[in-house]
Symmetry: C2
Subunit: 624 residues, 2 copies
Amino acid sequence: MTDRAQLIPALKNIATRLRIDSIRSTSEAGSGHPTSCMSMADLTAALFFAEMRFDPKDPHNPNADRFVLSKGHAAPILYAAWAEAGAFDRGELLKLRRIGSDLEGHPTPRLPFVDVATGSLGQGICAAIGTALNARRIKSSYRTYVLIGDGETAEGSVWEAANVASLDGLDNLCGITDVNALGQSRATMWQHDMAQFQRRWEAFGWHAIVIDGHDMNAILDALADAKQTTGRPTMILARTIKGKGVSFVEGKDGWHGKPFKKGEEAERAIAELEAQRVPADGGVDLARQIPKPAAAAAAAVTPRPVGPPAYKIGDEVATREAYGAALAKLGEADARIVALDADVKNSTFSEKFEKAFPDRFYENFIAEQVMVGAAMGLAARGAIPHASTFACFLSRASDFIRMAAISNVNIKLTGSHAGVSIGEDGPSQMALEDLAMCRAEPNYTVLYPCDAVSAERLVAMASYRPGPAYIRTSRPKTPVIYGNDDAFEIGGLKVLRQSAQDVVTVVGAGVTVFEALKAYDKLKADGTAIRVIDLYSLAPIDAAGLTAAARATGGRLITVEDHYAAGGVGDAVAEAVAGAGFTVHRLAVREIPRSGKSEELLDRYGISAAHIVNAVREVTVGAR
Amino acid sequence: MTDRAQLIPALKNIATRLRIDSIRSTSEAGSGHPTSCMSMADLTAALFFAEMRFDPKDPHNPNADRFVLSKGHAAPILYAAWAEAGAFDRGELLKLRRIGSDLEGHPTPRLPFVDVATGSLGQGICAAIGTALNARRIKSSYRTYVLIGDGETAEGSVWEAANVASLDGLDNLCGITDVNALGQSRATMWQHDMAQFQRRWEAFGWHAIVIDGHDMNAILDALADAKQTTGRPTMILARTIKGKGVSFVEGKDGWHGKPFKKGEEAERAIAELEAQRVPADGGVDLARQIPKPAAAAAAAVTPRPVGPPAYKIGDEVATREAYGAALAKLGEADARIVALDADVKNSTFSEKFEKAFPDRFYENFIAEQVMVGAAMGLAARGAIPHASTFACFLSRASDFIRMAAISNVNIKLTGSHAGVSIGEDGPSQMALEDLAMCRAEPNYTVLYPCDAVSAERLVAMASYRPGPAYIRTSRPKTPVIYGNDDAFEIGGLKVLRQSAQDVVTVVGAGVTVFEALKAYDKLKADGTAIRVIDLYSLAPIDAAGLTAAARATGGRLITVEDHYAAGGVGDAVAEAVAGAGFTVHRLAVREIPRSGKSEELLDRYGISAAHIVNAVREVTVGAR
């Protein structure tokens, strides 16, 4: 270990290099946030070169300390630090923000040293909760460091994270707030009033340390203090100067997100910084001294086989209940499966998992953002997290769901209580736009089982399909219609009724499958045959299967969904069959619903069996 | 004024009646949350019958105190209080949650005394900020009271609200937390540890008062204390018992959202409560003594006429900049126009409005949930609020956007920096699912101008169209293509190029309009004529105009959008023309994009002029 007398000048010089790199790369790019990097340069130098244990050549080592840059717009200094550590050639930094480079404007996991994409403020700290929880899960001593901006502190998700971290006693988590007092458009809420920050973090149960973020000794002391603090997380509140190191921008408004002009302006700034190099013992090469994490045992995880479902056809089981049962079963077979909920575990039935595996269940109380954010962090470190709440409240975490897509991270979300079929609780509790939300993202798997068997199968399949997934479950009990050995596949569908005489294909999903089956019976009694499809996989979607059904039924397709008209089942089917020239007749909820009985609502909003029967008659006028 | 000796027994009896009503209505409905009502009955009685000034027969009086039930699941006691006050017949309470009744499971503004729908926790307190700001705007002394649950305190949006309210010094706002210690599925985070609540609210700058929420004297004292507190909002932290008043449910887990069984169980509970009636002076009728608000001058607001835009064809102006200019112009003509932003006013250009009308501009710092929530409260009280941020960060408030739909409240949202055309900042800053989010809601107006003239016209039209609206603006400068006197309409479109020889219709919106125009030129040079449409109104949509164009161009339609494929322009057009049997060929972003130059990205992700040219050739193979 290098002593402080040697360490500090070496760290100061690294900080200066990181500032220069941040300026050079953004000036070359012609855009970016150099001044936001410069305020955190001393903190970054200390973290990377005197605190964290990691291997620059193997950032994914399971025991390596994690660093999450929650203020993602400071990406250039993150890249500079990894280059300084030897992860890649410094020359790459000059490709910042170019289309051929993975050094993007904000960090994404295209880079091996980035766990989750940041750039939407207030999310990195939630993900950091997940990486900290993961250390407990795998019994590793790695620590998680997360750097947030002061402006970022206004985001409610930061306080969701603050609560959860202190309740969970995450002393392996160390936050650092870069209090540079300037936001994008103006001074921040509390500027340099450090007491405002301190009293908030202390009130939320954190150990809070106020320091001068440019005093290297103070930074090292605070990090040591954090490491020795047990039973609660630490937040280091670092008073900093935006643009620190370059006199003509230091603490000045109007320099957010603005590069130094390449040429004279940038060179003048760099010259000022160069002049700040301090004499340092030539023998100290901190990058080579980064302590490596403990070697990890090759974690060959082979989940034990899970038996088939054990339901009986005709049993009445809500898909949400089947979800909970499936999760508990998977948990038995695979230790990576974990579950998160937001105080509705007795409605989503994640409580079945909690009961079996209390140590792998994370209660987030009524805080959906940190729930999804923590899931992202857990997933980034190898867990397979299933997060659940009412589907409508997943919209609370919509921006996290978006960023999880950008991260392409392995989270599994399940939203229960979909649609008007929930009944009397009314519209605030009904998810009618959740399919639109998740289908919009190009890499989400979106599944919607209608019965317990398909629910169990799809929960298992979603668990082992890489990338983000969304499973929609329903509140009412529905009859089991599939055999325990029936095969399902992601991107598949089931044709439930068919004959050579079918005049139309009706595509349902979830509760509307049963409305379609009722309509089938009614129409059959009248001598009209229809094809009925259970479209349990919305993304990916079986375009060939849908097109074949359309072709076999005179090009007539009706979709029926317990969801608003835009972005759901109808749109999914319409795009799938458009290439073949087929259009879709859509039954969907088209106005703000109200309280009432489930059946009343299905009928009032046009998605009951009676409406399907009418639609079939309408589209087949003149057919046959 | 009744003295306390008379007041308190009368209030206690009202509280008992409210408890009984909450039980009767939920038992009759067979669902609902009686125990969550019972914990807040004493608080409710004091608020409605000894504190607030309002007219039960005219709840919309502009000077009436506001009450927001943020814990919307306690709706039955809200309804019972208004019935007790004389707003409607008590017998109506027994229709709770029935399809024919406006007394829904959670409150919505279908009821005249509800400003905004609640039931998604943590939102009512944000809306309350808006109603409190509105009092300042109209120079009224009315006060806003908002009751939240203790479990609700976990929502980050509560802390966004806490910050904004204290920064704005909203001493006309009084919060009450019903700390009943039990959430839906388990004990809350801090149960009855009142210090946990107090230190948080104090840290966030509120006057925090801890009381026993069943001690009527203490409640009245706290309300008086709040009223006398200046310069900051007050939070009354009331320790309560869930199910208070009925011994067999008091403080018991397992009674959340569970009605007493109609018959013996309910009657036993009611008998217990009846026995709690206290002797009271028969002459005190608190409902008749509710102080009426000051009569309001008939607020006939006639906005002054706004002149036409004053751009020059060919000028390069970003639509986001035109938005800011339009807003400032509207602000001049109509005092109801207000603006909110989340620390990006220099990017959204709402700063143009702030500069002109600093008193009507509300900075929310980086806290999108409270921004949209406050806009909802402002709108509910007669303002016309425009809230803006990067379009991608509006997804942070997605659940608020959903609840604004349920409220059908008059908010106007503008999201800037749409799509990959923003360039180097990368995917975290690109909105590619915002159209899907807003189109999903059945009552949102969704507009997407491509130039400054249409932006100015559409901002004005959105302002005066009742209900929620979303306007999508773009980062890059685009040429002005419309004349200052060109007419636009909500639900309209513009055919920019047409001839009798058109072989295909290309529908663009925003930046892709210019790609379509470039494609037109290229194809024209090759002897191919295409029709080009600017679809500036996505909801409502001109189905007839699109269908006519499709029909005139051989049924061939191509859409091109700077948005993901699901839920955007392509889906909107596809549904609009499906009835006529036409399908759509869609060009859209189909993978997670990356950093790069705007033009590079438009091309890489398949939505540039070159891709349109290829698509036209593809769909017209064999045509003509």
